[in-house]
């Protein structure tokens, strides 16, 4: 298992300080939003409110002999305040390894200012923009880079200006501007000695038009102009180097119900400035059996222009004794025959407190499921409490 290194301060943050003009523009936007809030008066006001979540996880990595125990803990604090049409929300996170006080890190996970008018919203700050109808892996979800240490978890937040304009009948237009490029990784994992260069120009943008509940269907179309989140190696006069290819991505997603069966389809076609175009797509379905068991399945085709993989994803979920939950997730790599299973039971200890017991087993063949950097055999217990 390889845990890739993602520096705590990524280069984009340094750039933010140096990109003076953009920095001033953003400060101006913050000021404008605050001003709009104050002149609009307190038509409605809520907060400030503070909430959050504390998690402690103890994992037993069975790959090693003797079994290696790993303890981690994190505390997230959610802050929210709304004055008139202007709202502020932020999540601060302290996370680290138990038993090593120096390993704890403080991070501003997200921090956003929102201006909410009747027909449009403007959202500015460090945030996640989540697109797509597929389960877990979304081809059109290109705004935030994947957290390569937890590809099935939350993506990495980015600084973005997001505008949403709402039309009638649940139709909405979304525009996104990303002033500072943030990759998923800024080194070649297998060749860390190769220098990796950021794009000379940062600005990326995306647009989306979506309609929900139109003749019983949800669908959207998107376009993204920016850079890949993973570096590509090339040979130049300076020698081998990594860079992020400039790309145009067009995509679409769709979801509906056929009788009692849920269906979704999502695809994105990417054309790099250099190299071959590629398409990622996912098709899936879910159904709840009369006994309450939710069954979901998805076929996911992943390409990068150089490699391609096909995965079958499978999920089961059922309430147990009303207040508890059982889940099973599985991924099968059709090319290599590798697979991962991840059963989990979430026991409700009290209102807002859960004990999660689970295990993960990965059978890797021919280097398959390399995108999942988890231990091959692991059991874990996790306490999660929200306040």
């Amino acid at each position: 298992m390889t845990a890739y290194s993602v520096p705590a301060t990524w280069k984009g943050e340094d750039r933010m300080k140096t990109s003076t003009m953009r920095y001033r523009l953003f400060l101006g936007l913050i000021g404008l939003l605050l001003l709009l809030g104050s002149v609009s008066g307190s038509v409605w006001a809520s907060g400030p409110s503070i909430g959050g979540q504390w998690e402690a996880k103890l994992s037993g990595v069975l790959d090693d002999d003797p079994v290696k125990l790993v303890g981690t803990s994190s505390l997230s604090i959610d802050l929210q305040h709304q004055t008139g049409p202007v709202a502020f929300d932020a999540t601060l996170k302290i996370a680290g390894s138990m038993g090593d006080k120096d390993a704890f890190e403080f991070d501003m996970d997200t921090a956003c200012l929102n201006y909410m008018a009747r027909d449009y919203d403007i959202r500015f700050g460090k945030q996640r923009v989540s697109w797509g109808t597929a389960m877990g892996l979304n081809p059109t979800d290109v705004i935030n880079p994947q957290d390569i240490n937890d590809p099935l978890g939350d993506k990495l937040p980015v600084w973005a200006l997001v505008g949403q304009y709402y039309l009638e009948n649940n139709v909405e237009l979304t525009g996104v501007y990303l002033p500072f490029f943030r990759p998923a990784i800024d080194a070649i994992p297998t060749k860390p000695q190769i220098p990796v260069y950021y794009p000379e120009e940062d600005g990326e943008w995306a647009v989306k038009i979506g309609a929900l509940g139109m003749a019983g269907m949800d669908f959207s179309l998107m376009y993204f102009s920016g850079y890949e989140r993973m570096p590509t190696v090339r040979m130049t006069a300076r020698g081998m180097e990594g860079y992020y290819r400039e790309v145009d991505t067009i995509g679409a997603d769709f979801a509906t119900s056929l009788g009692d069966v849920g269906l979704w389809l999502e695809a994105a076609h990417t054309t790099p400035k250099e190299g071959d175009a590629y398409t990622n797509w996912a098709i899936g379905s879910d159904y709840r059996l009369p006994n309450g068991l939710l069954v979901a399945g998805q076929y996911y085709h992943q390409e990068t222009g150089k490699t391609q993989h096909d995965y079958l994803m499978f999920g089961l979920e059922k309430e147990l004794a009303v207040i508890h939950r059982g889940k099973l997730g599985a991924v099968y790599d059709t090319d290599s025959g590798s697979f991962m299973v991840n059963p989990e039971v979430a026991l409700s200890l009290a209102d807002a407190t859960e004990l999660v017991l689970g295990g993960r087993y990965l059978d890797r063949k021919q280097g398959g499921l390399g995108m999942l950097p988890y231990s091959d055999k692991e059991i874990y217990a996790q306490v999660v409490t929200s306040f």
Partner: protein, 258 residues
Amino acid sequence: MSIRLKSVIVILTMLFAFGCGTEAADLTGSEIIDRVDTMMQSESKILKERMIISNAAGQQRTREIQAWNKRASDKDNMLVRFLAPADVAGTSFLMVGDDMWLYLPALGKVRRIAGHARKGSFMGSDLSYEDMEELGSLGFASSYEAKLIGTEEASGEAVYALELLPKAKDLTYLKLCMWVSQKTYLPRRIEYYDQDGKLLKVLITSNIHAVQDRWVAGEMQISNVQTGTKTTLEVKDVTFQEEIDDSIFSTRNLERGR
């Protein structure tokens, strides 16, 4: 139907309820179920409720929800937002006609729920979405044929005993037995029978009081006799016939969380 006309019908139903006890025996099953629907239905409703869910072992979990309900032409629109506890606060559910969406704050996006959810549990309770619709704006008369079995005395109150048989074949229940207060035209007890004819759930209403010229059950207890689970719904606040902007029932509002 205009809100004013609807109010007149409700008031007339209440007048019947208060003053026409002698007429009771002459009513047919369908007339009684129409009066039940009139009393329980509302063009619009805003509700705050505490939901207490118990499993067979007696472990309880409490949730607080706020719901907006509006009937527009033949569509039933409902938005439900969890207020507490903290781990589910902000989770919202939107139903517009046959379309259903869920917003999970952690996921940060609106997700369509397939049609199967309609027959599934309403937010982990012993009621399904279909049950909620029947008890709310949809009513029973559109789905069931009601037959008057007789009149009885239950807990010192005169009630009609009705048997409700489904009009369509795809309904969840084989039949319902309902005891309706002759005074308030509210169901005091409903028994839900599964397709095998076995008793599945029992709903009991209590704390009956008047709100805005209509009778309201301040508490509903639903027990699943086959699994031993129980859900108690306590109404903390309710307003009827309030103008609710259609934009409340939009996915935009679902995402915004207000």
